[in-house]
Symmetry: D2
Subunit: 400 residues, 4 copies
Amino acid sequence: MKAIKDSVHGHVRLGDVAAELVDTPAFQRLRHIKQLSTVRLVYPSANHTRFEHSLGVYHLARRAVDGLGVDDDTAAHVRAAAMLHDVGHGPYGHQTEGIIRRATGRDHDDVGWLLTDADREVCQVLERNGLDPERVAALIDGEGALGPLVSGELDVDRMDYLVRDAHHTGVPYGTVDTGRLVTELRLIGGDEAGASADLVLDEGNVATAESLLVARSLMNAVVYRHHVSRVAGAMLERACERYLDRTDADAESFRRMADHDLLVELRDRVPALGERIERRDLYKRAVWAELDEVPTGTVDAGRPEERAAEREIADDVGIDRDAVIVDIPSRPALKESGSAVVVDGVPQRLEDASELVTGLRAAERRRWTLGVYCPAEHVDAVGTAAREVLGLRATGRPPA
Amino acid sequence: MKAIKDSVHGHVRLGDVAAELVDTPAFQRLRHIKQLSTVRLVYPSANHTRFEHSLGVYHLARRAVDGLGVDDDTAAHVRAAAMLHDVGHGPYGHQTEGIIRRATGRDHDDVGWLLTDADREVCQVLERNGLDPERVAALIDGEGALGPLVSGELDVDRMDYLVRDAHHTGVPYGTVDTGRLVTELRLIGGDEAGASADLVLDEGNVATAESLLVARSLMNAVVYRHHVSRVAGAMLERACERYLDRTDADAESFRRMADHDLLVELRDRVPALGERIERRDLYKRAVWAELDEVPTGTVDAGRPEERAAEREIADDVGIDRDAVIVDIPSRPALKESGSAVVVDGVPQRLEDASELVTGLRAAERRRWTLGVYCPAEHVDAVGTAAREVLGLRATGRPPA
Amino acid sequence: MKAIKDSVHGHVRLGDVAAELVDTPAFQRLRHIKQLSTVRLVYPSANHTRFEHSLGVYHLARRAVDGLGVDDDTAAHVRAAAMLHDVGHGPYGHQTEGIIRRATGRDHDDVGWLLTDADREVCQVLERNGLDPERVAALIDGEGALGPLVSGELDVDRMDYLVRDAHHTGVPYGTVDTGRLVTELRLIGGDEAGASADLVLDEGNVATAESLLVARSLMNAVVYRHHVSRVAGAMLERACERYLDRTDADAESFRRMADHDLLVELRDRVPALGERIERRDLYKRAVWAELDEVPTGTVDAGRPEERAAEREIADDVGIDRDAVIVDIPSRPALKESGSAVVVDGVPQRLEDASELVTGLRAAERRRWTLGVYCPAEHVDAVGTAAREVLGLRATGRPPA
Amino acid sequence: MKAIKDSVHGHVRLGDVAAELVDTPAFQRLRHIKQLSTVRLVYPSANHTRFEHSLGVYHLARRAVDGLGVDDDTAAHVRAAAMLHDVGHGPYGHQTEGIIRRATGRDHDDVGWLLTDADREVCQVLERNGLDPERVAALIDGEGALGPLVSGELDVDRMDYLVRDAHHTGVPYGTVDTGRLVTELRLIGGDEAGASADLVLDEGNVATAESLLVARSLMNAVVYRHHVSRVAGAMLERACERYLDRTDADAESFRRMADHDLLVELRDRVPALGERIERRDLYKRAVWAELDEVPTGTVDAGRPEERAAEREIADDVGIDRDAVIVDIPSRPALKESGSAVVVDGVPQRLEDASELVTGLRAAERRRWTLGVYCPAEHVDAVGTAAREVLGLRATGRPPA
């Protein structure tokens, strides 16, 4: 077995199929897609990529399926899905996901088209090794009894990224007992191929499952939703929209770019934003509003309403429309809460077995924040106009 | 400065007073008091002692006072208190605390008597260096504006032990950003010596404070209250009571023992229990009941009622009275929830600033468990008798 | 499989035999034998025991035999030998090894007698599981093709202790790529049971093997031979000799003691030394001489000559004979240098493949030091007398 | 003080000048220069950049000058030099250093021109804070008593990169006790500003200094000179030469590129090599020869002779000249060996105090390797032609 040294898991040993998949252009491209896009502007050590993350997810999936007692063919498909689960990402990963979805109608998890059409080499490797690309794609999409292991509430993707992101940012909150989690997963019900079975954590693991939620909640607070990263991310997204407007780049070519391509293109073609991103000369927060300040209609605004609000604010202040960015996150959610854990012999949803989930939900709600960003010199004017346009309620709190 | 290598903090540099205190017999004795008493029977790497923990607490206190802007004299007293905060512990630390309290009326934090009377060398070092032993003792007892730094809800004691216990057990849940916590503490209000000021965490640290609660909650679940450690701890406590009954050892000599003294004495003088502890040949759980199974009166039973119940159960089954141990923990609490954190410029209690606290409280409630332990061969009989004697309610749950 | 959490390897999973062996009194006793005896007086975090070390050695042995392709029966014997390799140790491990050897003629590796006679429970577990105690004992003694895996120049014992001792002291020098070492071992030549085969490191591992030597050399310099640990160790050894002289304890009972027994006995029966050890009130160095200062006859002196010199020095100064300790280490050696490594397809001895070995040998020579220790108040007088009695050569160097 | 989270040092606290320097474009550009250029093609986690490395070097320099007792002004210059020591690097760091030196006559350490001319913002920050850019530049160049702290044999640059590279590759060999090293440095002789003083390691640190050499030797073997990284590096260098030949890019613009610029330019303008680098579709080794196989003249060949040999080999085989790369490293050296360490009160060169240095020198010699690389399909033909052209001696060894 070929072994690749990994800073998180020590050595990742690759089986034959994995070793062939690593060498495909689609997988090598992941070396050039950073795992945490703009987070590195806050945590400078966070330069890790989806390449090593994908190897880590493969590693955990391999250990998990070893303990599940599924047949060899099923196990091979799960391992391939774990390896390939991120090949559908555009440049800067989740940051461009919305743009690509709006332009192509497809999410990064929706890789069926990719595996059966565009990336011939990945398909050829799979087929040459007796694997069905469609079945791999379905697993990546979370389908079937074992789909949730690859893409679900307790998936190996999350286990790897929480630990890896903590290691690379240097933040101590993302630590999860992956060694325990992967060996405590069980398939209950269903037939030998795992059809219609349910993936659950075995007895005695409520705290293990909670630790995963807690890690994600704390990582959300201090890493994933850090305001500097959000500002940079919003600028990047805006720059990408302008880039697609101004050039004849089609959405599919855009999706296939790597980070370095996009960074160069944005700097050269959308310099007003691209140069700022490259030099970390970022917009500042004109508004930073919590959930109780924001009218329901604004919380649930779609992209068109956001863009309309931006134009109105910019026009009110009399500045360029690209100088105002409104950033409204989706409503807070806590996906892992539906994970199944066996308690006293009976599989339960984690949210029923753990009162902690309620607290974490409330914490997520509290951390939800709407932002409006603009160049430093317009912060006051934009702040006033934006509170008016977005209908924000006054609070007694001092500004952030 | 003398530096001592520490597995958690790298190097702990000792000032002159600290270097003298280290060499006193009272402090050297801490080398022989394990930090986690019986937890090592579950986590075999957890052999760390109150000696290195005390150095770690001193290290964090020194960094914290550096940033608080207090005068040198106050700072010196705080550092001495941090060093000495555990010298009042009996053998096996918290495990013998109840016995010593019942026999002497004093807690381990109540070290005034110790500093001014019994341990002449510690007193002499303090006085020779211009420090007031009474003032040091008051800080250890949590008094004054800076007492909470040594013994309070966000104290450096807790910061050190959570990280150290995680490091030595190998469990990933106790990780706390101590580097951030100690530099974000502020004294607000009060005069230069810190009198009547309040110790708070500065703006932007709700998640930092939450991480401490979360760490403790998860450590409680998987480490501090692991059932094997609780069984061994209950056996140890029972053996100590027998030892004090059967020998002419007075409570003060008992308190001054080290772990190795106690281990040898219990094996030689109370062999029925002492030999079992030494060989990890432990009692088993006959009952393991959650809060909703236990009548209020039983939850709040004191030591005399516990002992009466044990006798009744043993007599019902017809076995030796030392063969039954009833272990009723105190009601679940979450002390850190009253910590003060600045939010939007205003100091708030953490429980008011963080919805997570509610969830953690509920989790602590759920994890509360009453245990009854006995030799393996009597588990069934003792279980039946105990449920009857303690008035436990039937649940639909299968036995643990 | 039962899993035990370990601070170094994460989880150690125990097979059925290992799980039974853990519960024997002989193995549980290892919880009470510290891995580094007196080193904890310098590195206070170094309280780890031979219990968790033995589990770690078992863990590495299991991974190594998985890759060697030996038959199941052989593998089972190797795993049992790895588990049990340290059960022959006396209290304080290597520190009492010389005393026990002189009294009984047996080393700690010489466990044949133990497995077939004294410790019935270990034998019973082995035989009940179809294992031959004599064969296990032979492996512990380093015999046969696989003996070197348990006790040899590249054994799993060393791999575990270097990493574990570094982790617990907090020193960064002991880090060895155990994950790579255990998967790169090969058996070449010989038959299926591994008879007359040779254990070698596969091609491309000269640097991996060197890292083990380097780690041990640096750990020797800063941990294992730290002068404070050596002073305490010499005092302990002297105290043990007095204890055996003064009491009717026989050598075998002595060997079966645990650390806590010995600490209490020495304090109570040999208080002049025992109380000092317990309180870390240690002798000081009166002489600290390098190899080029010491006449050949003195370097190679045996225990009787050392004792004669001590008496002569003490009498010259006019103090109690127990107040002078002469500590002459054996000549420097570098055992790993004979390990076999495949280079360009041919197995070679590491010392032939690596020029680094020569440098490490010279470094070991340089670090060799003879010590003479006594109470602080006699340092000058003892120093002068000792240099005379031992025939030390003058150097231009200032005293240590 | 502003604090930046770092995966190696925990928190790096920035003084006022440092906080201003961080925001200059010249420093922000370091976010886009990877620390280990092509090593990431072997160790996929090694994506760290010169940005966080520079912060780490600043952090260590600040701790070192705190203990040296120099005046505030000197300390401020040293800290600024530590921050800025890498701003002179071209894209891919050391990989393009030779090209830039040949084109401009300047090394990356030679930043005088940069600080006083091209990068106005860095100069302005320095001057605004009362610092002399020329003096900072001289320190970066290793001049004066404190120059060796920034750029010398025991500099903070090396201390940081060894630990950081080990952390990010996941290799355990680069661990150095930086905490001890920076507090054990002393200035001896000289005046208060440190003029004509010597930087030495204090008594008792031979092993500490050796650990740095050992770490570098092992990191050289398994990381820095891994053959895959060397092949990719040689391809990159060749591609850069072609790029400068084929485009009108001047050397100074080339030097100012970031990694992403270069990657895009090489792919677009030198696709035969650039596309291969991007996809990790690398040349293979046709020759891999040790020092004793290579004639002296070839070992000491300059770039022109290398290029002539490449042309001759390519023409012999009848393939494109860019398809053959000859890679002859400079003669092995061990720079740290001249570091000064105090032994028995006298400063000595480490190579005189440590016999280990001799062993490490020999190990470096052994690891020296000449490589010839080409596309996989020409490996045999190129190998034969290259051994002939380069006059390599036959050995009995099998090919690599």
